[in-house]
């Protein structure tokens, strides 16, 4: 005798039952009546993180207002703007600030030029194996830390490094390739290139190849297609990539420290010195806050001028 309907020994698959259990648990912990507030639940971890950052900033702001007492090596009890006056009034810090900003600008321009060509090749190349090779070459540096890479450049560019050895073979006297402005810029561009390419690829993918073909058939030569069609259409990606490269470079520490050899300090190096060498926390904090302010103002300005949608690659404000 067989009964109609589901068999007695039927059981749902294990992962179904597990999901049912999770759902039941979720109903108890976060009942349906709370559904309106689920959005808050999702951003809670992020809010926590940002909150901690803000707390840290408040702490730094506090110590930036206290002057180091050189007799006791303790910060003063009362607040003053002495540290800021010192930071803005000392020629060394202005030199360092100018060096950071100008290097960031130069690195951004050079990186964008190289990254645009690379990203364009990556997007438009027809042979799959070439695209794969370009992608692997792009991601490889991410597996090697910044310090290790800078160290690699020390070996390659050093006084008895590979480059100078090779130059020696053709009779060129060894040159000082390291510990100067050029070496720092070189290292920074090399470090920033993959970031810029990764940010440019989606922007270039969004430009249909047919648009370029159309511009050609309408009478535009290659340089004109680049200038009138490609560049304006890639603008959101270029701004996003430029912003990332600029801020990362402006705050960089390892490359100027290692390839600059102490002669090419950026703001971050100056801050490090205040915290860990001269132990003047107040001055270091003031410098750090000024760096945060400069970066924030720049990002704010870019968003105001070009719209906050810039980084979203949508092409619309």
């Amino acid at each position: 005798m067989s009964e109609p309907g589901p068999k007695q020994d039927f059981r749902y698959p294990l992962h179904w039952r597990l999901m049912d259990g999770v759902e039941r648990l979720a109903d108890i912990v976060w009942p349906r009546s709370m559904a309106r507030h689920t959005g808050w639940l999702f951003i809670a971890p992020a809010l926590l993180l940002v909150g901690l950052l803000v707390l840290g900033l408040v702490q730094i702001a506090d110590s930036s207002l206290r002057v180091l007492d050189t007799a006791t090596f303790l910060p003063s009890e009362d607040w003053s703007l002495t540290n800021y006056e010192k930071a803005l009034g000392t020629k060394v810090y202005l030199t360092v600030a100018w060096r950071s900003v100008s290097a960031a600008a130069l690195t951004t321009v050079l990186t964008l030029i190289l990254a645009f060509a690379y990203a364009y090749a990556l997007v438009r190349v027809r042979k799959a194996w070439i695209r794969k090779a370009l992608l692997i070459t792009l991601f490889l540096p991410f597996f090697i830390g910044q310090v290790v890479r800078a160290y690699g450049w020390l070996i390659i560019l050093g006084n008895s490094g590979m480059v100078n050895e090779a130059l020696g073979l053709i009779g060129v006297a060894p040159m000082r390739l390291l510990f100067n402005y050029g070496a720092v810029i070189f290292g920074l561009v090399q470090y920033m290139l993959p970031f810029a390419v990764l940010l440019l690829v989606p922007a270039l993918t969004a430009i249909p190849e047919e648009t370029e073909t159309a511009a050609g058939s309408l009478g535009a030569s290659w340089p004109r297609i680049f200038w009138h069609v490609l560049l304006p259409m890639a603008k959101p990606g270029l701004i996003g990539a430029g912003l990332v490269v600029f801020t990362l470079t402006l705050t960089d520490f390892a490359v100027p420290a290692m390839l600059g050899g102490g002669s090419q300090d950026f703001i971050a190096n100056a801050i490090y010195d205040q915290f860990f060498r001269t132990a003047d926390q107040g001055l270091g904090a003031a410098l750090a806050l000024m760096l945060v302010a400069a970066g924030s103002i720049l990002v704010g300005l870019v968003f105001m001028v070009f719209g906050a949608g810039t980084l979203a690659m949508g092409g619309r404000k």
Binding site: T211, T213, A215, G216, S217, L218, G219, H228, M233, K235
Partner: protein, 366 residues
């Protein structure tokens, strides 16, 4: 091709395109001549090589063999941006970062027209495509049909010798597509610009063109005027691709074609020896249908059949009828606006046709 008195607008001579992928050639030995001011449609299923042929005329691809002449001059060595060819692309390829007027002005700027006359010319062409006053709009603010019109204006504004249309209507809904077909025709006649259109839509080809080329598997199947193409298809492929045709397999007989032992009246398109395998093709609107036993006056062949399905298409019925005597099924358009004939699924019917309407081809093609 040597007998052309004045240089034709476009001539293709023995054009091959082999992408070298190991697959069949995209275009094989394509040759045609197109007179000035004519509207040609290249019609074919996807993968037939029609777009490749168009792209070679535009200069985006170079033929592996043969040559293309535009205005009597070989075009192969001329880069696309130096050819006097306007093209409307399948996805339109408008510039989203420019206004409508800037889009239309683009070819004028690139081709170094006198800056003083650019604005006036842009407005004139926007009016031609009925977009007067839309110059300041952004592309994404326009509807699909309006974007089409911008693309047409942009392709025509520099007065090219040749206008190429690469299936620009394929993505539109039917109503808009039919409206734009008539619009293409009107603009083409108004300017008299030589035009080559590529499509897989046979209706579009018949509606807009002065001449049609049907392509299949990289080869030109037929080059003729629309009415001629429709009435006198050169081979079964063309008969099948344009219009709705039914096919009968058989052998050549004196009266026409012998199908399953029954002699059917028909007309051969070429000399075919008696007894060779051949294929009869007849259009759905050329077969007549009546209730079984009712007379079909004027028909040369009448056979009995049974309705297997009826599709109501509004202005007409599409009847699927099996003909057991011929071991075949045919499709028949039947006009019966008042619904008097009471044709129904399963009904026994008589069908018939005149000898001139059943076209007989050699059976090796298609």
């Amino acid at each position: 091709m040597s007998g052309v008195q004045q240089p034709a607008a476009v001539v293709a001579e023995g054009v091959d395109m082999d992408f070298g992928t190991g697959a069949a050639m995209a275009v094989k030995d394509a040759g045609f001549a197109l007179g000035r001011g004519r509207f040609l449609t290249i019609l074919g299923p996807s993968g037939s090589g029609k777009t490749t042929l168009l792209r070679m005329i535009a200069g985006f691809q170079t033929p592996t063999r043969g040559q293309i002449l535009i205005g009597g001059k070989p075009a192969d060595a001329v880069a696309p941006h130096r050819r006097s060819v306007g093209m409307v692309f399948q996805k339109l390829a408008l510039f989203p970062h420019m206004t409508v007027a800037q889009n239309v002005a683009f070819p004028l700027k690139m081709r170094r027209f006198n800056p003083a006359e650019i604005a006036g010319r842009v407005e004139r062409y926007l009016e031609l495509v009925r977009l007067g006053g839309f110059g300041a709009r952004r592309i994404h603010e326009l509807s699909g049909g309006q974007q089409q019109r911008v693309a047409i204006a942009r392709a025509l504004v520099f007065e090219p010798e040749l206008l190429l249309l690469d299936e620009p209507l394929a993505a539109l809904d039917r109503k808009l597509r039919e409206e734009m077909q008539l619009e293409f025709r009107r603009i083409q006649k108004e300017l008299g610009v030589t035009t080559i259109n590529v499509t897989h839509d046979q209706r579009e080809a018949l509606v807009v063109s002065d001449e049609i080329i049907v392509m299949d598997q990289g080869q030109i199947q037929q080059h003729a005027a629309p009415a001629e193409m429709y009435r006198r298809p050169a081979n079964p492929f063309v008969a099948h691709f344009i219009g709705v045709s039914s096919f009968l397999k058989g052998r050549r007989s004196a009266a026409g074609i012998e199908v399953n032992g029954i002699d059917c009246a028909g007309q051969a398109v070429a000399d075919l020896a008696p007894g060779v395998a051949c294929l009869g093709a007849i259009r759905a609107e050329q077969i007549r249908i009546a209730p079984a036993g009712a007379p079909l006056p004027g028909c040369d062949t009448v056979v009995q059949g049974q309705v297997t399905d009826i599709v109501f298409e509004g202005e007409r019925l599409l009847c699927f009828v099996t003909l057991p005597a011929l071991a075949a099924e045919v499709q028949i358009y039947h006009h019966d606006p008042a619904g008097l004939d009471q044709l129904a699924k399963g009904a026994s019917v008589s069908v018939g046709w005149t000898a001139g309407d059943l076209l007989i081809f050699a059976a090796d093609k298609g």
